[in-house]
Amino acid sequence: MDSPYAIEMLHITKRFPGIIANDDITLQLKRGEIHALLGENGAGKSTLMSVLFGLYQAEEGVIKKDGKEVQIKDPNDANALGIGMVHQHFKLVECFSVLDNIILGVEPTKHGFLQKKEAREKVMALSEKYGLHVDPDAIIEDITVGMQQRTEILKMLYRDNEILIFDEPTAVLTPQEIEELMQIMKNLAAEGKSILFISHKLAEIMAVADRCTVLRKGKYIGTVETKNTTVEQLSAMMVGRNVNFHVEKKPSTPGDVILEVENMTVASKVHKKDAVKDVSFKVRAGEIVCIAGIDGNGQTELVYGLSGLEPLKSGKILFKGQDITKASIRKRSTSGLSHIPEDRHKHGLVLDYPLEYNIILQRYFEPEFTTKAGFLKRKPIREYAERLIQEYDVRSGQGPITIARSMSGGNQQKAIIAREIDKAPDLLLAVQPTRGLDVGAIESVHKQLVAQRDAGKAVLLVSLELDEVMDVPDRILVMYEGEIVGELDPKKTTQEELGLYMAGAKRDEVKA
């Protein structure tokens, strides 16, 4: 125990076909500290953590635990060394209970039978100690993302892990849940756990981390103490240039009504009540309207209703004056509605298709890409994909033929955005378009949204990020429990006021 470092990764190099994901990277985690790992999408953060967790083997470099060199060949080795990880995409069995997920792999047994009572007591004690509220008997698919994440954290604590890796833990959380998580992380560090916090959200890093290591394009840039640095400095290290945090935009000049929603009601799939209740609003050409609210207040179902993924229970949708309430998804898409979906894996991409096919997913049947006889035209598809990849800076190992699944989350998102914007839509329905993106990419997405607005398109943005809600739109509609409870002007309101509406503490009778 003479080394001050719990874990050291020294000169790690990891190559993938066509890409060096980690190029001579060094990371030293002190005992009891919260150490942030900062970098853009594709900078190699996840790869580095996968090496530490034994999912990948590094070609070069050594890993030391408490000053002694160790070999980590698979997650079992990592577990044995006390390393636990909350993955960005949770590793939870959806039809199992919280308790079953926590004990999976380290089940207490007696004469071969599971001893769930014993396990439950330990879980409840841990849950109490660190303020991680979970219902051990709830089924994973029924609970909130926040509780799923707490389950993941309890999984690590249950295994008595000393080194906790959080892979972009805040990407899926609401502002309140993020606050809570930060507190939990501080509690854990105070109890002597060492935490590696992977993120590209600078404010969070400044708030919670002691030190921060920055990677850029697979290379090690440096390690800094957060108390001696600024957000601007960090972002410059990460992106390699200065980033503008404020969205530059001219005042909007709203034109014709593009989208008109009248008394929309959508049933919920989760519970018996309606998820969207009698909602009416309009979106005009040349404006960005933002639907704000805490996750799970009906935004998802509202978007499903608009995009055609779910039928309306009642109400009407007029798009450019046409009633599209019962129109098929393709009809909506071809008539000028673009949709950047909330869940890019479920509704955005065919993960096992190459990038080029994903890019023409909604347009493959057009004469540009298909012959009269019904065969795909390979060359125009390839050229179109290459153009979009170029224009929207989608980074991937093998260009158009990269399998979507193998791409980083941020680049998957960029591919979707490229596809949806390049369709030249009249209405862009952007649902959490910057979810999981780094500052550089967020800046470019925001610019593109504003550019769409300035080109006279209507943009409906659904967002959970307060900064985004305050910065990007021209109008804010706040949703609470399936209803629109307020319309706000981002220039005149404050985050506090917005928060009150989002929490349901304040409401107006809105007829937007």
């Binding site: 997650p75 993955h87 590793k91 199992f96 079953d100 792999g105 089940e107 599971l114 699944r405």
Partner: protein, 313 residues
Amino acid sequence: MLLLIQYTLIFSSVLLLVALGGCFSEHSGVINLGLEGIMVIGALGGALMMRMLPAGTSAIVIVLLTLLAAIVFGVVYSSLLAVASINFKADQTIVGTALNMLGTAAATVFVKAINTAANPNDHSATIIYVEPKKAFVKAIGSFEFNWFMVVAVIVLILAYVILYKTKFGLRLMACGEHPQAAASVGINVFKMRWAGVLISGALGGLGGICYILAGVSQWQFEYGVAGFGFLALAVMIFGQWKPLRIALAALLFGLFRALSNVYAGFDFLSALNIPGTVYNMMPYIVSLIVLALTSGKSRAPKAEGIPYDKGMR
């Protein structure tokens, strides 16, 4: 009536055994469409054992050795599915179908070869087991009790306990739902899937020998097992991959299958003058209808059919 109950119970036992086999395989993440073929091979193993045992072997030895032979044959045969679909990541549907085709064909060729070797004029693919069969049944009044009914109940209880009360079951089901999650907590997905498939082989083999011992005293292997492996799959789906529900589903399907054997014994059914073939079709038609109505709601293990690949996220 007693006859109907007797046949219902024995056919239900077959379906229950095989469906539980399928249940283990699918919970581990491997679709086992090859149950039909595994049943045939298991039946072959059991039948060969009965043929080889000398006359005068005690009943209990006959029963145990026959069951053992069926299980061993089933396990060995199912390892083909395991190695192809788990290690070589082959398409599970295709491998399963191949097993079915190979099962009946191989059994036929094999039995013919044995018969012809014993008697050059015998070109049949039939194995006769009139004497050994008596070891499996026990007449209680006019009710013909069959030891397989007990075996099926024991297997049902074991299956329930193993799936829901042991860590093996928890891990097995995790592999069928989210193998990446299982792997991330250090579970060897390959091993668990092998275990699932081999258990289904054992139970499939048992079901096979049970099926050919159910009503008759000789078996023509050209007939395979007449689609019972597929019926068992239907039972498994109708039972929602849950042992207790599978048991109820097996009883229902077993009843329809039994009707075709004994409908002549019911005056009101004979009076309807429906051709016997209609009754023979019943279980299959019922399975079609039931699956058409229920499969929309069915909740199969999420990762079944997808070969596990460490690199997938």
